[in-house]
Symmetry: C2
Subunit: 450 residues, 2 copies
């Protein structure tokens, strides 16, 4: 059987100098589902009733493990901060928001404990429960759903957050938490041009699962939803298939579905001063929110793009909308991707080279009191709508120290004057407080309930 | 500029013995988007107006190409059969069905010619158009949308099909094609327990894009939709993230979202006798359908799973539904995954070990006159529905020589008596005739219009 010890990162097995602090990939072949399956399968011919060990094999497995590949990467679940924030962005994402359907504080806490156990296991490549998908009492449902059998950990991280409605609704406290709701944790305001679908917005709890294999991320959310049965119900969820920013200087800047590089100015994990300034909530931020110190706020926006309209715009219009070249992502005032734009530069007609309503001008930190965010969004395509238009765009995720200074003023400005607004529509919105990381033996959000 | 010659597979560059016949991965680093971007980027600082060569660089690029990786794999677009049928299944899929909105046969043919050109390019890792996403007339829309800049070809295949409605609707011929509609190309019948969404069903044309990178598959469908503007409109589309069968003996059997191995009995490309018997339409199949010789029929079914109900079933029930073990995928009558079930074997109470309504019993070739299919389906998760249930399941794709003998009788039987029916619901349905492959200079479906 697996012991808790097996779930701990073992720094002695770490290879090479870790790139971002506290987020080093810990490569532990001993616990991969793939490695375990080989041996488990061999001993399973007589599977009928009773526990036969499932995935949890002994350490003899290490010797026969396959060569390490990117899929075998794991990140520690426990730590000062939750994983999945500074972690170098994985390629795929499944995000889910839940409504708590119990009124019992005790049941809510137990749910968080159960989620912690399952998340600590799954992020290390283990099944959600100890017995796994094919063992245990034959007349009982398996404690893992099984679709990730044979898949490697794929760098899975699972990050949890609490929505404002968890603390109370309509002035009524929930779970005795009203006195602990930070002032910044409020439903995001209605921004100009918002066209929000309430069933793609808000939620009491959120789960962000990121991995390099979509089936691994989906398996994580699906098992957490299964575990929540009777206590919390899935409110909405979103799949993302391609990252739209980088959280590490080791990653190239990816492209959004408009074909432009996205997230060039992102806060990177290696810039610890910027991370401290823009991402982590400090101890003294809020007298009600001391439990959130070391955590962050997660801003979620589902942003549809009018793909068909965009695709018929001239290259010149596309570049002027962003204020950057499409090929290189350089500011229209010259240089390369990471060159700073010169907003004063004009052409022969005294027109600014970067238009006054260009996206880069409105969002640039130099025009927003230095405000930056750690963006972690993904491209999405959810088929097509009833008119044959692609239901596609950018699922915007950003971690900030305080949404009141880092997101709300900028989004207000964008909603009023961004030339990009012509081609996008915000269809979902949520804000979550993301509690700090935990040590082994603790549960996610423990500082809130302690 | 790129010449047509560049698009041809160059067998002299092929490495290692090709696994499935006519589907050998041709690794051609010279044309990868990633390789080209590096050099293109360097020469693009002065990008303003006019063509600067874009992605289409000369052969000097070959020398500096990065090391080959799975992402750099390409498959030939031209050949006796369309790629994307026997091709070893890629990991991700974007499927789209289109309605033709022009009445002009000439415009329809031109669309197929334009699609052929773009597909031949994109499958070789080139942008959809010659100028690419960042070059050409600055005041005109780019001829590629750009989100795949820097991504490798990722083994992209694009496969086209024609629905029955292309030939005529309500007894009225379309495009002069009524006389060429094969008898087998009819809307699939309504099966017992079908609950079809008309807006996830049917279509005049279909495109199946498969690749190992979802952004590459999505880029392909999106550019074909863009090119179709004014001639065909997207009717519906579906993303799939994990393959649910194998088309090559070199691939392990993957798992569906019920956690079971799927497609164990699939026709594999290496079994050329089975492929000839079950997949390709023969020359003498149908006097109206001679143009389809060397092609196939594609059966499409969107099958939702009631995930939450399934996850609460005991392991015993789950295994009895399929008639196989969950861990290994072996028949409940013993052996390993590829052992044949013994349907006569009984337990001590004279009950059959594989229940009379078990899925494997109903679909097994031995109980269906030897009928087999080449399945090529994918897992899907499209978020959750308004009740918080996952909108998830299996997007079933199967290539058959004749749907009247290989799919319709089996599905009729399943709809009436399959124990699995309790946990699934068919929500989408379509049938397409997939024309044979073409030679360079021809266009997809040319045999139909010739």
């Amino acid at each position: 059987m697996t012991t808790t010890q097996d779930l701990q990162p073992q720094p002695t097995e770490t290879e090479a100098p870790p790139p971002p602090p506290e987020e080093a990939p810990v490569r532990r072949s001993a616990v991969s589902r793939r490695g375990l399956l080989g041996a488990a399968g061999a001993g399973m011919a007589g599977l009928a009733a009773g526990a036969v060990g499932g995935y949890a094999l002994g350490s003899q497995e290490t010797a026969s493990s396959p060569a390490l590949s990117p899929g075998t990467r794991t990140y520690p679940f426990y730590g000062e901060h939750q994983a999945g924030i500074l972690t170098p962005m994985q390629d795929r994402m499944h995000f889910a928001a839940f409504d708590v359907i119990t009124d019992s504080r005790e049941e809510l806490v137990q749910l968080l404990k159960d989620w912690t156990t399952a998340a600590a296991r799954m992020t290390q490549g283990l099944p959600a429960g100890e017995l796994g998908p094919t063992s245990g009492p034959y007349a009982a449902p398996p404690d893992d759903t099984g679709e990730a059998i044979g898949l490697p950990p794929a760098g899975l991280t699972i990050t949890f957050g609490f929505g404002p409605t968890l603390f109370g609704t309509e002035g009524k406290s929930r779970f005795g938490l009203a006195g602990r709701q930070p002032a910044a944790l409020q439903r995001l305001p209605h921004f100009p041009a918002d066209k929000l679908d309430p069933l793609r917005s808000d939620g009491d709890l959120c789960v962000q699962a990121c991995a390099d294999d979509p089936q691994v991320a989906i398996h994580a959310v699906r098992n957490l939803a299964r575990i929540a049965f009777g206590r919390a119900a899935l409110r909405w969820s979103q799949l993302g298939f391609g990252r739209t920013s980088s959280t590490s200087t080791s990653q190239a800047t990816p492209r959004n579905l408009m074909g432009f590089k996205d997230g060039t100015m992102n806060v990177k994990a290696e810039d610890t001063a910027a991370v401290d300034e823009h991402v982590w909530v400090p101890t003294d931020a809020d007298s009600k929110g001391t439990w959130l110190a070391g955590g962050s706020y997660l801003v979620v926006r589902r942003i549809n793009m009018t793909i068909e309209t965009w695709d018929r715009q001239p290259l010149s219009e596309q570049e002027q909308v962003f204020g950057r070249t499409k090929a290189e992502g350089a500011p229209l005032t010259g240089g390369s991707e990471f060159s700073q734009p010169d907003f004063d530069l004009q052409d022969g007609d005294q027109e600014p080279l970067v238009a006054t309503d260009a996206h880069v001008r409105l969002v640039h930190p130099s025009n927003n009191g230095g405000a930056k965010m750690l963006r972690r969004g993904y491209n999405f395509v959810d088929g097509s709508d009833r008119l044959g238009r692609m239901d596609a765009g950018l699922f915007f995720l950003a971690y900030v120290r305080d949404p009141r200074t880092q997101f709300i003023p900028i989004q207000t400005k964008l909603g009023l004057g961004d030339r990009l607004s012509e081609y996008i529509q915000h269809t979902g919105s949520a804000l979550f407080a993301v509690p700090p990381g935990i040590a082994e033996g603790e549960y996610i959000g423990q500082s809130l309930f302690a």
